[in-house]
Amino acid sequence: MRVGPFVLTAFNLAVAFYFVTTLASLAGLLLGKQRGRWVVWASYGLMAIGFAAHTWLIGSRWIAGGHPPFSGLFDAVVFFSWSIVVVFIAAEGIFRTGWLAMFVGATEVVLFLYASDLDRAIQPLMPVLKSMWLNIHVVAYMIAYGTMALACFAAIAYYYLSLADKSPERVKRLDRITYRLVAFGFPLLTVGILTGAVWANRTWGRYWGWDPKETWSLISWIVFAVYLHLRFLLRQTSVTPERRRFLLNWMVMLGFGAIIFTFLLLKFLPSAKDSLHTYM
């Protein structure tokens, strides 16, 4: 269907609703907790419609291709952005932040704009991808990535709050949210790496080859491992809680940066052309 100059597809529908969600969530934040309550609820509703279109997009590609749509870069980006929303729904149910939808909506719009330029052909699975381990690998990684994305948003919000808002209770709570998200995502990140290693061993006969993709997935893992250990370590030192949280939230943003680099930006590495991994 065509609406004026716009072509109505699940893809375009999803990105449009995510865009409006971002605006609504931002308005809710600016209006304040009491006055903005209805706008925040509206942002949830808009996100739900966007998410439904998003799910429809993935589902129709699954049916058309006959296999879970994980293989091309387009599908990977669409699935990554979908898992951010899935984790958001669960996390918002627990933490009730109200403002997280703004970050999620904005991220969705950016990822969709990036995906709009990518090849959308649904190809049959390449022989190398025909493995049960691949599915576990992808699902574990996507939930982990989604969780770490939310942790990164919480870390960004932490900086905003610690500068603008002086309420130590809210700052402390936010730091706690970041920690709980990382603590949930870290085992999944590990499972992602380990199942990837098992898959590589079954396909190429080696579980670890220091390929750029593998190395960078280890780097992202190390950043979060350092975060978890530093959190424990700094508590035993004389570092003030403010400085401790300042440092730790930086680590989370760094970690998510490393994830984005691993996932999407490796092609800019001088060593990437020799990598075995596709979509680069």
Binding site: R2, R120, T190, L194, L228, S271
Partner: protein
């Protein structure tokens, strides 16, 4: 004893305190992380896989000679196998073990922590056992066997052009690569690339993203499956919508041999040749296509005997006088030379020695492709070359010999013997030669099989009857036409498709339709679009037999993600002749034996269970305790 060990890990010695500190963990993790970043910013020598002089030129171009030498001294080009990186990993392992034992207490709540941190012991054991793993590549030709795998080779990076030559000479003295012998032999029956039956039809859009002086510098390509394109599409930033209305087959003209009824026309036969698992069908007409070089070593000839005298003369011919000398391999050993005929795949003994010579393959037009892959550019004898395997006891050497460049190959050194090999090119007559004689007037047909110019077999043939040659090739006459002529026929081309597209200009509202055939492209403004049809690869299949002492012990179909396991080794489908594509006549299997993997997998499982307990089970239990009014405990 247990408590004595534990008290050691809890002792106040500064070294123990240092090794049990979390501070050390964080420092080591940060250092390993930084090293990993460096290792991906500097392309690693084993990943680049270039020759020593190329490596030297590349690295000095990038970093300059001084930094190159510093980097090389710090083993930054082999960072992940460098001693200092290993030291970091070993220190981290020791640190984790010390941390675990230092905090060891018989409490449930400790379980997750201990499992997580002690799993690294299994990983270390796995890696250490894996240090003497064997891995290599096994290249096998169809119908041939091999037990010699080529080992991976990780050359050191030279500091000067002179050193580059030195390393290259080391390479040459090892004939390019080092090999190892497997305790069993792999025989390849057939290799093939299986493709999906269902074609993948796509419409591809290519839009200029950046142009400079009218030239497209950068473009983006987006493609859609036509099958799924039920809606309009507007390429980002382009004022068009495009809609696929329908697809239709593309007709192609084929030439067909038909009965003309004209008594002056010569007869023709349609012949099927089944060789090495592939069947090909060809028309042979006595007037046009009389002789066909069907395979590199087989020629098919069709002759019509116009009268009885010719029929008798042709049938009586028991050797092909046209043949010159066959292709030969000259083996010079000490002061004697032995000439052996070129028989592909046959292991021939050199009389008076313990040597055997096997010609593995013959390329009529030898070329080197990407990644040191050898292929024949055509069937013409422009640069004939053979690959020869020389065996003496357990020692095996392979070498390429070039007929027109006899001095190209250095003599081979096997044990204390020096052997010079030459490829003596004969008359390009193929060793196998089949002639079908048609006694047009009598209606009789006779098949004659010559090997190396001598008649081996002569028998009458009927249409539809298959005849097997001694090398396993089967020949069958499918049809016979007495008075043949060529006719043109239209039929749908399964490799092509056409799509009818409707394009709408959003600025003016104008619509127009166009039919685009696959392979052709059309341009609107800055936008190119084309329709493509391909049959995507479904699987790479190697049908192999495992031989022990020449006897078959196992048959297996090796596919991607479905390796062969035998005798502690695992053989994975790895590569093939990508220049030849689907017609590849060899497969490359990657061979691994790594008993350490078991420990790695145990470590993986323990690590996963440990993390699940630490991050999912423990917080859940703590939460329950907290609601029961108990004190919150410290994390981790």
């Amino acid at each position: 004893l247990g408590s004595a060990i534990l008290s050691f890990f809890r002792s106040d010695h500064f070294l123990v305190r240092w090794l049990t500190s979390v501070k050390l963990t964080v420092i080591l993790l940060v250092l390993i992380g930084l090293a990993c970043i460096v290792g991906t910013l500097i392309p690693q020598a084993n990943m680049v896989g270039a020759s020593p002089d190329v490596l030297f030129r590349m690295y000095t171009d990038w970093y300059g000679l001084i930094f190159h030498r510093i980097f090389n001294a710090l083993s930054l080009y082999h960072l992940f196998s460098s001693w200092w990186f290993s030291v970091l990993l070993i220190l981290l392992t020791i640190n984790m073990v010390f941390c675990s034992l230092n905090r060891w207490r018989w409490r449930w709540r400790q379980l997750g922590f201990q499992l997580t941190h002690l799993s690294i012991i299994f990983l270390l054991v796995g890696v250490v056992i894996g240090l003497n793993r064997s891995e290599g590549m096994l290249q096998v030709f169809e119908g041939d066997s091999s037990n010699t795998m080529i080992l991976g080779w990780n050359p050191r990076v030279p500091n000067s052009p002179a050193e580059a030559r030195e390393i290259a000479e080391e390479m040459v003295s090892q004939n390019g690569m080092t090999t190892a012998t497997l305790p069993f032999t792999i025989h390849l029956d057939d290799f093939r690339v299986a493709r999906h039956k269902q074609p993948l039809d796509r419409i591809r859009f290519q839009a200029a993203r950046r142009t400079e002086g009218g030239q497209v510098v950068e473009s983006r390509i987006v493609s859609f499956n036509i099958e799924h394109q039920k809606y309009f599409w507007r390429p980002a930033g382009e004022p068009w919508t495009i809609e696929v209305l329908a697809t239709s087959p593309v007709m192609r003209a084929t030439m067909e041999v038909v009965e003309s009824g004209d008594p002056s026309s010569a007869p023709a036969i349609e012949v099927s040749v089944l060789a090495r698992g592939t069947e090909s069908r060809r028309w042979l007409m006595t007037e046009r296509q009389k002789r066909l070089p069907l395979l590199p070593d087989l020629t098919l000839e069709y002759q019509a005997a116009g009268d009885d005298a010719a029929w008798k003369r042709l049938l009586a011919q028991d050797d092909l006088a046209t043949t010159g000398a066959p292709d030969q391999v000259a083996v010079a050993l000490g002061d004697g030379t032995v000439n052996l005929p070129v028989r592909i795949g046959e292991e021939q003994a050199v009389p008076g020695t313990d040597l055997t010579v096997t010609v593995l393959r013959l390329l009529p037009d030898f070329r080197v492709g990407e990644g040191r892959r050898f292929f024949s550019a055509s069937q013409e004898r422009n640069n004939p070359a053979i690959e020869v395997r020389v065996k003496s006891g357990a020692r095996v050497e392979t070498q390429w010999l070039f007929a027109r460049m006899p001095d190209f190959n250095p003599p081979l050194q096997i044990g204390d013997q020096t052997i010079s090999l030459r490829f003596l090119e004969g008359d390009p007559q193929t060793p196998h030669y089949v002639r079908i004689v048609d006694g047009s007037t009598s209606g009789k047909r006779q098949l004659q099989y010559y090997m190396d110019g001598r008649l081996l077999k002569s028998q009458p043939v009927e249409t539809g009857e298959a005849m097997a040659l001694p090398d396993g090739t089967e020949i069958r006459i499918d049809r016979w036409i007495e008075h043949a002529s060529m006719a043109r026929r239209q039929e749908p081309d399964p490799t092509a498709v056409a799509a009818r597209l409707r394009i709408r200009d959003l600025r003016t509202g104008e619509e127009d339709e166009t039919v685009l055939r696959s392979g052709a492209s059309e341009q609107r403004g800055q936008l190119f679009f084309m329709v493509t049809r391909e049959f995507p690869i479904e699987q790479f299949i190697s049908d192999v037999e495992v031989l022990e002492d020449g006897r078959e012990v196992l048959k297996k179909r090796i596919q991607m993600n479905d390796p062969l396991r035998y005798g502690g080794y695992t053989l994975y489908q790895s590569s093939y002749d990508s220049e030849a594509g689907d017609a590849s006549r060899y497969t490359v299997l990657s061979v691994k034996r790594d008993p350490g993997v078991l420990f790695i997998y145990i470590g993986f499982s323990i690590l996963t269970v440990g993390l699940v307990i630490v991050f999912y089970v423990n917080p859940f239990l703590r939460k329950r305790k907290r609601t029961n009014g108990e004190v919150e405990e410290e994390e981790l």
